[in-house]
């Protein structure tokens, strides 16, 4: 197969420069939202509205973080266009990693509560 033809075909399978830039802007906005959320909940601009947000602060932050993670993986790492085997090789350990983190945090929280209860 001709090298240049191959490269051109491969390039076509990737998103366009416009898509890359739009994703970059979305990532920037999501990061600004994360920091804004922190500022209005616990930071220098915290007020009554921030107090109302507090119970949802962590889930909202994790949701925004997961959104950014997915955008980078799908568009910048090309998982949306590339072969599904790559997605499998990445997502399978990612699921184990998430279960590991959640498991240990829950276990620690349980242990902490149990220790406090005496």
């Amino acid at each position: 197969m001709d090298a240049h033809a191959t490269s051109a075909e491969h390039e076509r399978s990737h998103p366009s420069v416009g898509v890359y830039v739009r994703i970059g802007l979305v990532l920037f906005v999501l990061t600004a939202l994360e920091v804004g959320l922190y500022e209005f909940t616990y930071g220098g601009h915290a007020g009554p509205a921030g107090a109302a947000i507090q119970p949802f602060f962590v889930p909202l932050l994790l949701l925004l973080s997961a959104g950014k993670f997915a955008l980078v993986a799908m568009f910048y790492m090309h998982l949306k266009q590339d072969h599904r085997l790559f997605t499998g090789v990445f997502v399978f350990p990612l699921i184990i990693a998430t279960v590991l983190i959640l498991g240990l945090v829950v276990l620690e929280a349980y242990h902490f509560a149990f220790a406090r209860a005496g």
Binding site: E34, Y38, S65, D82
Partner: protein
């Protein structure tokens, strides 16, 4: 098309380029590596040898009377985070230029990626130095230990990425990354994006969630 051939490479049983499959496998293993470090941080962040407290986000006085000032600098870390995210954009733009054979564009965007990476590493060096001067070291308490290990390992990954991308920039400068060899950059870019997504998780978990 399959990724077989990023040109000049032998056909494989999977029809995929072995190097690309290898980097994805490596990235998968790195997910588990960072999961252990993040779990370690989350489990230990409130386990103090010197007692519980809101430090490092807020000031705290230990039972012994030692005052710990808040040390987290959100604006600086936010800037570092934004630049790391932009570096991901820059590296895909560099890749798009490499695939089109636009050497000038490749050098420009890859150079900007490197600058962002160098700034991020510099930010972390400054932050670590600042923390040590404020009394938080690897040995101060379990928070310090787990914080420095997690962010330190991430910083090491960024440094390795900067070195890798710099070698590719030199290659590009010498005209040795034609479109047919753009996979070399794509593989490095995958590693760079992974380093970026790890920070996407670390940033809120360590710096924003108290």
């Amino acid at each position: 098309m399959t990724d077989t051939a990023h040109a000049g490479h032998l056909e494989t049983a999977t029809g995929l380029d072995n190097r690309k499959l290898a980097i994805w496998t490596f990235i998968g293993s790195e997910c588990l590596f960072f999961a252990t470090l993040i779990s370690n941080y989350l489990v230990h962040k409130e386990t103090w040898l010197t007692g519980p407290g809101p430090f490092p986000h807020d000031a705290w006085t230990s039972p012994a009377g030692k005052v710990f000032e808040p040390i987290i600098e959100i604006p600086l870390v936010t800037l570092g985070t934004a630049l790391l995210l932009f570096s991901s954009l820059f590296v895909v733009l560099a890749l798009a230029n490499a695939q089109r054979g636009n050497r000038k564009g490749l050098l420009l965007w890859l150079g900007l990626t490197l600058l962002c990476g160098v700034f991020f590493v510099g930010m972390q060096v400054y932050e670590f130095t600042h923390f040590v001067h404020k009394g938080l070291t690897l040995k101060t308490n379990l928070f310090g230990g787990s914080f420095f290990v997690l962010t330190g390992f991430h910083g090491t990954h960024v440094t390795i990425g900067v070195i890798w991308l710099f070698t590719l920039w030199i290659e590009a400068f010498r005209g040795k990354i034609p479109p047919a060899k753009s996979l070399n950059l794509e593989i490095a870019a995958l590693y760079w994006h992974f380093v970026d997504v790890v920070w996407v998780v670390i940033f809120p978990v360590v710096y924003l969630i108290k």
